[in-house]
């Protein structure tokens, strides 16, 4: 039996999806049409980067290779994110269905779930679900009786490294190396695991694929906005009455979300985890959507009595710890931002030093090798911008 760790929230669409309906619909479709269907749905990666899933699959499907892979990125390490844990606990079959659909679409025969070490307790549950699917003919040789379509899934474990959520670092880790991101191109869809074409999708993306195939693209597009189709799971934590996993259509405002979770009165909300942006109360009418505030779903509510510099310090300590150290901007930039925040807290940050660090943060955003260093300045810069008065008054000893 899986360890059920009760998480609150609202009703999730995944509860209403008929098991295997998506897989059956997908297998009754030609591969090219299947990729087109996912492309038409407008589904964009739910891990945070928001790359169009259909396009990713199309690239991988176009590659000619004897072996291709579908990797489920279950290295959910972004601070404040736990929706993948809930999906893997409650809807693992949907995720495996999505992987199988992906395998069929791109021509892969092996799927790998890369599960973070902190979720080791979920491993027996996932293996159990995989075993049952094999026994039911939903994995293995000639899946669902479709001749020539062989697809199996294994679980591989992470070992405690945030950066392995980055897809090329994840692949390095699977190959037995340090989880250091690769230069791109080539992208994993061309040369990924063991140099073979590889699709890496987030847990929630794969579950959404199964839902889209079960209920159709028009149904999916009836949620959300023109540019951000569908619904999204949000991991809500921090200073609110009802933390948990919530499903909302894209386009909900920060204020609307706060009302649902009992977080009214917050002074700020950190959207997108430590690598996301800090939204001050005056901007709570902004929308959670790819065209406004894009996010993998982490929503950390910051109450009126919190010190915003404590927030910045917590995130920067995290990045100093988790930077893989491979590229210079990230390895050296994060400690400088942390130093600036510590000095600001002490009311002893020379203005010229702060200006230099801000410039360095800008350099990190363009010159770091992977998403970690490119996004770690976001919270720092948005806090300086959004809470300039609070920080300034404090520095002045007010």
């Amino acid at each position: 039996m899986p360890v059920i760790i009760e998480t609150q929230g609202n009703a999730l669409t995944y509860e209403t999806i008929e098991p295997e309906a998506g897989l059956k619909a997908a297998l009754a479709t030609s591969r090219a049409d299947l990729v087109d269907t996912i492309r038409d749905s407008g589904l964009m990666g739910r891990g945070g980067a928001g790359f169009p899933t259909g396009m990713k699959w199309g690239f991988c499907a176009a590659e000619k290779a004897d072996q291709k892979y579908v990797i489920c990125n279950a290295d959910e390490g972004e601070p404040g994110t736990f929706k993948d844990r809930v999906i893997l606990t409650r809807f693992a079959d949907l995720v495996l269905e999505g992987m199988t659909i992906g395998g069929y679409a791109v021509g892969a025969s092996l799927g790998i779930i890369y599960l973070r070490a902190e979720y080791t307790y979920l491993r027996p549950h996932l293996n159990d679900v995989i075993q049952k699917r094999r026994a039911a003919g939903l994995l293995g040789h000639d899946v669902c009786g479709v001749e020539g379509f062989d697809f199996d899934v294994i679980v591989a474990m992470g070992a405690g490294a945030y950066v392995c959520g980055e897809e090329t670092a994840l692949i390095e880790s699977l190959e037995g190396f340090r989880g250091e991101p690769r230069n791109r191109p080539p992208f994993p869809v061309v040369a990924g695991l063991l140099n073979n074409p590889t699709v890496v999708n987030n847990v929630e993306t794969l579950a959404s694929v199964a839902a889209i195939m079960a209920k159709g693209t028009e149904w999916f597009k009836s949620f959300g906005t023109d540019k951000s189709s569908g619904y999204k799971l949000f991991s809500v934590s921090g200073d609110c009455d009802k933390p948990g996993v919530y499903e909302f259509p894209w386009g909900i405002t920060v204020a609307e979300l706060l009302k649902e979770v009992g977080g009214e009165g917050a002074k700020a909300v950190q959207i997108g985890g430590a690598s996301g942006v800090c939204v001050p109360a005056r901007d709570f009418e902004r929308r959670l959507a790819f065209e406004d505030i894009p996010t993998g779903g982490s929503v950390m509510v910051i109450g009126p009595d919190r010190d915003i510099l404590d927030v910045a310090e917590n995130f920067l300590e995290f990045f100093v710890e988790e930077s893989c150290g491979q590229c210079t901007p990230c390895r050296l930039g994060n400690p400088q931002m942390l130093e600036a925040v510590k000095l600001l807290k002490a009311g002893a940050c020379p203005p010229e030093f702060l200006e230099n660090v801000k410039e360095l943060a800008g350099t990190m955003q363009v010159a770091s090798k992977c998403g970690l260093g490119q996004t770690s300045p976001s919270a720092f810069l948005s806090i300086l911008e959004g809470f300039g008065d609070e920080i300034h008054n404090r520095a002045a000893g007010a």
């Binding site: 360890v3 760790i5 998480t7 609150q8 959910e76 390490g77 972004e78 601070p79 404040g80 994110t81 736990f82 993948d84 844990r85 973070r116 070490a117 902190e118 979720y119 080791t120 307790y121 591989a156 474990m157 992470g158 070992a159 405690g160 490294a161 945030y162 880790s173 699977l174 190959e175 037995g176 190396f177 340090r178 989880g179 991991s235 809500v236 934590s237 921090g238 200073d239 933390p243 948990g244 996993v245 950190q270 430590a274 950390m300 109450g303 919190r306 404590d310 927030v311 917590n314 995130f315 300590e317 995290f318 710890e321 988790e322 893989c324």
Partner: protein, 166 residues
Amino acid sequence: MATTMTNDELRADIEALVERLGPGRASLIPILADVKRRFHEIDSETMQTIADVLDIHPVEVHSVASFYAFLHSAPEGQFVIRLCGTLPCDFAGKQAVADALRTELGIGFDETTEDGLFTLEWTSCMGMCDQGPALLVNDEVHTRVTPEKAKAVVAACRAAAVAKEA
């Protein structure tokens, strides 16, 4: 670990793992995780043996082990207690839990008790943000941890260790 196993036994053990996991480089991390779980450290002799069996340089083994938070080669206690340090757990009161653990164990973070039973560490977000403070004891998750609950967790580990000895 060298004190409890001979080189030949260790080598046979690792060869058995490679037999199961495959001879490729991809087996390295699962091997290290397995060694760590059983022996609570990965000493240089073990790294050399793993390198021999996988036919790679021992520096490669060290390089990988030192990269991952859960594979650090330094000796650790039978129970590794990892307290989540990230923001929501901070808001939920991680500091009081940290103080309780320090007092109860008599060690600081990144230290191991003299009896080899406990190691105390901070960890990055462990995905329990809606029910912090959260901690991991080896693979086991504990949520909504109070200082009292933290002491009870430690007591339960001690009892489990005594039961194992008996």
